[in-house]
């Protein structure tokens, strides 16, 4: 885990939507794990964005951050991170209805179990709730587990 922060360099290059989101989140010192949760991006994709921003000298790695959250070692668990990202995706697509799935998400013991459950949920949404929401959630789930 590393902590990043924006540099003083002005933003004078064209960035993609995700890159701009990550750049703006780095206004304050923030770890890559928290960044992945807030930006709702897979860690490997986030790493590529961070590398690009580092190359552009738009952000820097902060060493020994004084305000490092104490719960972060727990958050490095990929299962916990994926659960958080999945819940964020569900809330984005289903709004308040997403809360009723929280207990089921928390109950999953492995990534494969979580992926299988997510795909079943997509199927259930497609058949009984909304095809549009199901398509959007499927895209997010595929990005999450690729």
């Amino acid at each position: 885990m590393q902590v990043y922060k924006q540099t003083a360099k002005a933003l004078d290059v064209l960035l993609s939507r995700e890159q701009r989101l990550v750049y703006s989140l780095c206004r304050e010192e923030i770890s890559d794990v928290v960044l992945a949760q807030r930006a709702n991006l897979p860690l490997d994709f986030l790493q590529s964005i961070l590398i690009h921003l580092l190359e552009q000298n738009l952000i820097e790695v902060v060493v020994g951050t004084p305000n490092a959250p104490t719960a972060e070692p727990k958050a490095t668990d990929p299962l916990a991170t994926t659960k958080a990202q999945l819940m964020a995706a569900l809330e984005a697509e289903l709004g308040e209805k997403a809360k009723k799935y929280q207990a089921e998400v928390e109950g999953k013991q492995s990534l494969s179990e979580l992926e299988e459950w997510s795909l079943k949920l997509v199927l259930k949404l497609r058949l009984t709730i909304s095809q549009k929401a199901a398509d959007a959630l499927e895209a997010r789930v595929k990005a999450l587990f690729k």
Partner: protein, 96 residues
């Protein structure tokens, strides 16, 4: 005989209407929800049709054509009942 067959058909269709509109609450949208809306409209129309046939032919003397008609209507009601049972089973699997 004809009246009994028609009465069974009408009762079954009224039950089908009740089940069909109840299922809509479990699947408000999606593929099943959309098809269920269309299915419910036709179930309601068929129920009205059954009632109309029952009222119009109640005093008719029994003949072969009316027996065949009432049997077709009854089997139609059974068909709708089976379709709804299938939808119920699919929703139960999705819930599980």
């Amino acid at each position: 005989m004809i009246q009994v067959l028609l009465a069974i058909g009408v009762i079954l269709m009224l039950y089908n209407s009740y089940v069909g509109f109840g299922l809509k609450g479990k699947a408000p949208g999606g593929i099943i929800g959309e098809r269920l809306s269309q299915l419910n409209i036709f179930i309601a129309l068929f129920t009205l049709g059954y009632l109309a046939v029952g009222v119009l032919t109640w005093s008719y003397p029994p003949d072969t054509v009316l027996v065949i008609l009432s049997l077709i209507l009854l089997f139609g009601a059974i068909f709708v009942f089976l379709v709804l049972r299938l939808v119920q089973a699919v929703l139960a699997v999705l819930e599980g």
